[in-house]
């Protein structure tokens, strides 16, 4: 299956992915409604986008009491708006924190992800690889200063 692969070292924090995502998902350029979110690291010296990994368990999907989350033709866990009642069980079940609310989640734009298309530095690519923790190592390196302050 093709998934969104994040290359955090290439992200410049331009937020074009958020704009493209919100437009594709809602028809509006409104980053607050995007289901990919860019986080700053080390006082805005570096950035990385964060979104659904399309995990194997599909915690959101199995938690949904009305079967409103299914697997789309491209393998994405996808919310069926006409079935969803808005109970938010998916938001509390997803242990990655990648359920949003309106709209709920990444559906890989039906196989043509707008975020990957919009990224000018190829920090987001759509590839046939096993999904993974794309940000962990990067974040560990780029948070040393924050951690030093906590001590």
């Amino acid at each position: 299956m093709r998934v969104l692969r994040i290359h955090p070292e290439k992200c410049t924090g331009c937020l074009r992915c958020e704009l493209a995502c919100s437009y594709m998902q809602t028809g509006e350029y409104q980053p607050a409604k995007s289901v990919i979110r860019v986080s700053p690291f080390e006082g805005h010296t570096s950035y990385a986008p964060y979104t659904c990994t399309q995990c194997a368990e599909g915690w959101c999907m199995t938690a949904c009491p009305v079967g409103a989350i299914t697997i789309s033709a491209v393998g994405a866990k996808e919310v069926q708006d006409d079935r969803c009642v808005g109970c938010k069980l998916c938001a509390i079940a997803c242990p990655f924190g990648t359920m949003f609310y309106d709209p709920f989640k990444c559906n890989l734009c039906g196989g043509a992800p707008a975020c990957a298309e919009a990224c000018p530095t190829a920090a987001i690519t759509y590839e046939d690889v096993e999904t993974a923790d794309w940000l962990g190592d990067f974040a560990r390196e780029r948070t040393a200063r924050v951690l030093a302050e906590a001590r």
């Binding site: 199995t62 079967g67 009642v85 242990p95 940000l135 906590a150």
Partner: protein, 441 residues
């Protein structure tokens, strides 16, 4: 002969078990379902109450779906006895159903406050579909609704009652609202929020009697200040449906004691959901977790084992979330563990609160509260669940979170929690999508 599975109870646990048996079995089995009600989702009833969905939307498996799944049904009947020596279940109409293995998933029922008048006209429970119909028929715009009890169930229908144009008063006998879901600080913030949205809240208030007066209800309070209501809803707790098992010989503590495969003391009898006392993920002790996500996971694990797989359950995590007037309120795990090390933070400018609880450098529980419109509230809810569920070692991030309890995301990502969660599945394989007829053989 094909194995004969008997599922007793058509709620979340039972339906998840049936689906999983059909997904996992290697030999086509005979499945019989006994259920007092047609299978529906209790979680959805608040949205039926506020008329945002039709009644037909609440059902989890229609007669056609059950036929597609090749399930023999006894609907509208209750199991009254289980003979675990003869492997026979007796129903209230005298029907005897033989089984090779069975799942007890009979759930729980609403309990009313034991006061005179509690069973009178205009006094409702809100637990079953039938009870939801009763409440829906009674609430008119301008009705005064008094909710007795301020727990999770009550909170799931607050928005619905308000959106029907009713006036709402909440009465709670405990000193705070949501006493089994959040702490004093959180409850105080939620109460103020509700009052700002026109809801009257009385805590530490004990109801003593309900009288019928000119077609309305007068509620006598122990400390005076009687209330007059058009509709009274008793959300005063639930009791697990276990009485019918007294002679079964199945070991019952707070619930039916089950092992990591959801098996009871009788090896071919499983239990799942509200009636089961299974492993708690955090304490590793047995506990009853009468919540929807536990019923789902129990049902799936029991179903897989009944289908001949060997699936062990790590344990269930207490998780609760409600949204009231666009305020998200959630708690996880050991949020009330008095012995845990804690940190908390409140925002000055809005009702936003985080409370984090640790054992060593692992998060064992959390409370989170914030406006639904805050970009990070919903994501923090999930990440807190992930930190508690994975039990990831936070190392020096613990000190960071103690100083910055709102900075969940950074700690989540940098501790590689994603990597430790990705391999985890409940059934040891990727989940299948709902909506298709699950047929392995």
């Amino acid at each position: 002969m094909a194995p004969r599975h008997l599922i007793i109870g058509g709620g979340t646990a039972g339906m998840n078990a049936i689906r999983t048996i059909r997904e996992e079995e290697t030999e086509r089995s005979a499945i019989t379902l006994v259920s007092a009600e047609k299978p529906y989702s209790r979680m959805v009833l608040p949205y039926y109450l506020d008329r945002s969905i039709a009644e037909s939307h609440v059902f989890t498996a229609t007669a056609r779906v059950l036929r597609d799944w090749n399930v023999t049904t006894h609907l509208g009947k209750r199991a009254t006895a289980l003979d675990t020596n003869a492997n026979v279940c007796t129903l209230d109409d005298g029907t005897r159903v033989e089984y090779d293995d069975c799942l007890i998933a009979t759930g729980s029922s609403a309990v009313r406050a034991p006061v005179p008048g509690a069973d009178g006209p205009g006094v409702h429970s809100f637990w079953t579909l039938d009870q939801a119909r009763g409440v829906l028929a009674q609430i008119q715009p301008g009705s005064h609704v008094v909710m007795i009890g301020a727990g999770f169930i009550a909170f799931t229908i607050l928005n619905s009652i308000l959106s029907l144009g009713a006036k709402l008063t909440i009465v709670e006998v405990a000193p705070r609202i949501l006493p089994r879901m959040i702490d004093d600080t959180g409850a105080g913030l939620v109460q103020s929020w509700l009052e700002q949205h026109g809801v009257a809240v009385r805590t530490g208030a004990k109801l003593t009697q309900i009288d019928e007066v000119k077609n309305r209800r007068r509620l006598k309070m122990a400390a005076g200040g009687d209330l007059v209501a058009d509709v009274v809803i008793m959300a005063t707790g639930i009791r697990t449906n276990l009485e019918w098992l007294k002679t079964s010989g199945v070991k019952i503590n707070q619930g039916i004691v089950v092992d990591e495969r959801l098996r009871s003391s009788a090896p071919n009898v499983y239990a799942a959901g509200d009636v089961a006392e299974g492993r708690d993920l955090i304490t590793q002790a047995n506990a009853v977790h009468a919540i929807e996500p536990t019923a789902q996971e129990h049902g799936r694990v029991a179903g897989a084992n009944m289908a001949g797989k060997d699936v062990r359950y790590r344990g269930s995590l207490i998780i609760n979330i409600v949204e009231v007037c666009h305020l998200d309120v959630a708690s996880f795990g050991a949020w009330d563990d008095a012995k845990a090390e804690t940190a908390s933070g409140v925002k000055a400018d809005r009702p936003a609160y985080r409370r984090l609880l640790w054992r060593g450098d692992r998060l064992i529980g959390a409370i989170i509260l914030g406006p639904s419109s805050d970009i990070w509230t919903t994501n923090d809810v999930g990440m807190l669940k992930g930190l508690v569920q994975s039990g990831v070692a936070l190392g020096s991030w613990k000190a960071h979170l103690k100083k910055n309890p709102f900075d969940i995301k950074l700690a989540f990502i940098a501790t590689k929690t994603t990597g430790s969660l990705l391999p985890e599945t409940i059934l040891g394989r990727p989940s299948k999508a709902p909506g298709e007829t699950p047929v392995a053989v």
